[in-house]
């Protein structure tokens, strides 16, 4: 007669331990034998392109996706090579990365932080991605950056303009090529002074989330330094649609300038409605009423139509630049898709190449080796002039474009014109600048 050693308590303990083991994320188990999360083992490596494919910033997201696909083609030796031909670093030769062909998976962030995190998590755990790239919202970028830090993969941010992304919410595994609110303010200040003088009464309408807050703070600081007065800052809900209730009070507020800290559909609507309310036809304090949109995108400009004419703003990059890198990228993108790329597309394309280059220079996909290769990396030939990825906060420093709505656009693509290429020195700041203080880059996490 055999005697069983099973006890109720023992079975429960064993089940709990087995269950916990099975529930462990795959990346935590994979790292045990590779040293870092999702180390590629075969002859391919996988990227995760996490962009808004639905929701308010879907057009930006889809353009990012086009550029990311193009970047992968160029890395794998398909097509004309685009910016690989003009990039100052010559490590990439169109044979993939470290001998591995590049593959990618895509996700839809819906411009919602929780959805974006879930999508990125799936890319890391299920698809085994070593790098996450893309996005078109600072709220989303900060959320995904935090996840990548925890998971031990590199996050190459897409379109995110809040100071916080590389300020108080910066992370060692996160890198931003795109410019930020402070840089917009620093670039726009002198141009606005020249165009509109030193005595302006500015009224701000500001999107009520991290990007809106930090851009408003930056632009207000910059314009107040010129001598302008900030009459009022009104926070508006994202996706408000009809801004008439917020615009009507401006009419008799004494303000002679409206600064729209809005982006995407909100910017199209608020600008259109401000024009409908006759703001641009008004004379206040003996001056023509003016509207400023600090952050522009080509896709927004197309949406706003003729309302954008003469309105100043800033951009990270524009296809009308004449340098060799821009020409190469516009040619590749234009021939493949039939229209010029947006600055959202550009930043994602460049980020993908920069990551690949850093891996190659580091000789490893280990995120900490990649981060080390990116920190203080100086490069050129990517459309923005000489650029540095500052090690202290993982923010790229480069020239910034001041733009204006074209008075006489000849087609749907040249609705914006470049007013000035603001030199990089003018938009640089100390990593401990008050607008960026309070964060801690922390230690790089390889996932081990």
């Amino acid at each position: 007669m055999s005697k069983s050693n099973f006890t109720r308590r023992g079975v429960l303990k064993t089940s709990a331990i087995t269950g916990a083991g099975l529930m462990l994320p795959t990346y935590l188990r994979a790292e045990n034998h590779t040293g870092f999360t999702n180390a590629p083992t075969g002859n391919t490596v996988k990227f995760g392109f996490n962009v808004p494919q639905t929701g308010p910033y879907a057009e930006e997201g889809l353009d990012e996706l086009r550029a990311q696909e193009l970047a992968v083609e160029h890395l794998n030796g398909i097509g004309d090579g685009g910016m690989l031909n003009t990039f100052s670093s010559k490590t990439l030769d169109g044979t993939g990365i470290l001998g591995k062909k590049v593959e990618f998976v895509t996700g839809d962030t819906q411009t919602k932080s929780d959805v974006a995190r879930a999508s990125a998590q799936s890319m890391i755990q299920k698809d085994g991605c070593v790098m996450i790239n893309g996005g078109s919202s600072s709220g989303v970028a900060i959320a995904v950056q935090g996840l990548c830090q925890e998971a031990g993969v590199v996050f190459m941010a897409g379109l995110t303009h809040s100071n916080d992304t590389t300020g108080k919410d910066k992370k060692a595994n996160g890198f931003r090529h795109f410019f930020n609110g402070y840089m917009s303010g620093a670039a726009l200040g002198p141009v606005l002074e020249k165009a509109y003088g030193n005595e302006r009464q500015a009224y701000h309408l500001t999107a009520d989330y991290t990007w809106g807050w930090t851009q408003q703070e930056s632009i207000a600081a910059s314009t107040e330094a010129l001598g302008w007065t900030t009459v009022q800052n009104v926070l508006t809900p994202v996706g408000a649609g009809d801004f008439s209730s917020y615009i009507a009070p401006i009419l008799n507020s004494g303000a002679d300038t409206l600064i729209l800290n809005h982006y995407g559909g909100d910017m199209v609507n608020s600008l259109t409605q401000a024009v409908q309310f006759g703001l641009r036809d008004k004379q206040v304090n003996g001056k023509n009423f003016e509207i400023i949109v600090p952050l522009y995108s080509e896709l927004m400009a197309a949406g706003a139509g003729s309302n954008i004419q003469g309105v100043y703003g800033s951009m990270n990059w524009n296809w009308q630049l004449s340098d060799a890198g821009t020409a190469a990228f516009v040619k590749s993108f234009g021939e493949k898709y039939g229209f010029p790329p947006s600055n959202a597309a550009h930043t994602c394309y460049v980020q993908t190449l920069l990551y690949a280059d850093a891996v190659t220079r580091a000789g490893s996909f280990n995120p900490c080796a990649v981060a080390e290769a990116l920190e203080d990396f100086e490069f050129d030939g990517m459309g923005n002039g000489p650029t540095t990825y500052r090690g202290a906060d993982h923010q790229c420093f480069k020239d910034v474009l001041v733009m204006k709505g074209a008075d006489n656009p000849t087609n749907q693509y040249d609705t914006l014109e470049i007013v000035e290429v603001t030199p990089r020195a003018q938009v640089e700041y100390d990593p401990e600048h008050p607008m960026f203080a309070g964060g801690n880059l922390g230690e790089c996490n390889p996932g081990a």
Partner: protein, 343 residues
Amino acid sequence: MDAFILQILNGLDKGSAYALIALGLTLIFGTLGVVNFAHGALFMIGAFVAVTMQKLFSLSFLTVDDTQKDFLGNPLKVETPYVEAWFGENVGNWLQDWSVPLAILVVIPFMFFLGFVLERGLIKHFYKRPHADQILVTFGLAIVIGELIKAFYGANPIQTPPPSTFIGTVDVGSWLGFEANTIAYPTWRIVYFAFSALIIAGVFAFLQFTTFGMVVRAGMADRETVGMLGIDIDKRFTFMFGLAAAVAGMAGVMYAPILSPHYNIGMDFLVLSFVVVVVGGMGSLPGAVLAGFMLGILQSFASMNEVKALLPGIDQIIIYLVAIIILLTRPRGLMGRKGVMEE
């Protein structure tokens, strides 16, 4: 005082949109007893009829101009609208300029037809199902329509300007004895308000002063008795679904110059319009109109800086706050009747 009047104008303008959508929702609920969550999508389709008219009148053929270059340095392909080539520059320009008002002529029969197809093809199968089923199917339909619109027109808002005659502002202040340009209000928004008032009056007149309307009202009050009199009330109710769709479509067309149409515009209005219907009283047409304007005006006042300084965030919750208060004090809504939506 001027700020006060401006916000009343804003409220009337917002309220017009709420009232028109809520009116259609109430027509459908009052006649067919269906909670139609796809009604916002019908509003959106109306807005995109305006976009489509604009695009149709802008359809162009290409000619190559060797003297100009495109962004890739190739000879520029110049677009010439067909309407300009066919009817001359003046008529072509006029058609493009007036594409939004002209869309009204298209949207009425189109939305009637669409409403008829929706009701006969889908909604009628859910009459005897619980309200939860109706909500699920109509909500699903709204999502499908939204995604179809996105697939065809993209996700970005599309500028749909009014005729150039209506661009600019009207000096409303001068009508009221204020100094010139103290109260200037966009001309098209005033047109929208007047148009809404006309449509609302038209729907009420139709129901009040025609035999058809009288039968429909009788059917809304007691469907079974009207049926026993040998009247095919279902056919009339199907017509009313078409009418409600046409009202939503017209509201959408005329709203397109105010808010650039995008694939989610219907959802933005849908929730608010349901609150309007509930506050007005389920099944009450005058209640829907009254609540639409009342909540529009309240929302505008709540957005004033002075009010928000006292009660931060009030602009986001005012409609729901008022809805709670009204439903606590008048559970059937402002003009709701006993027996409607009550088992």
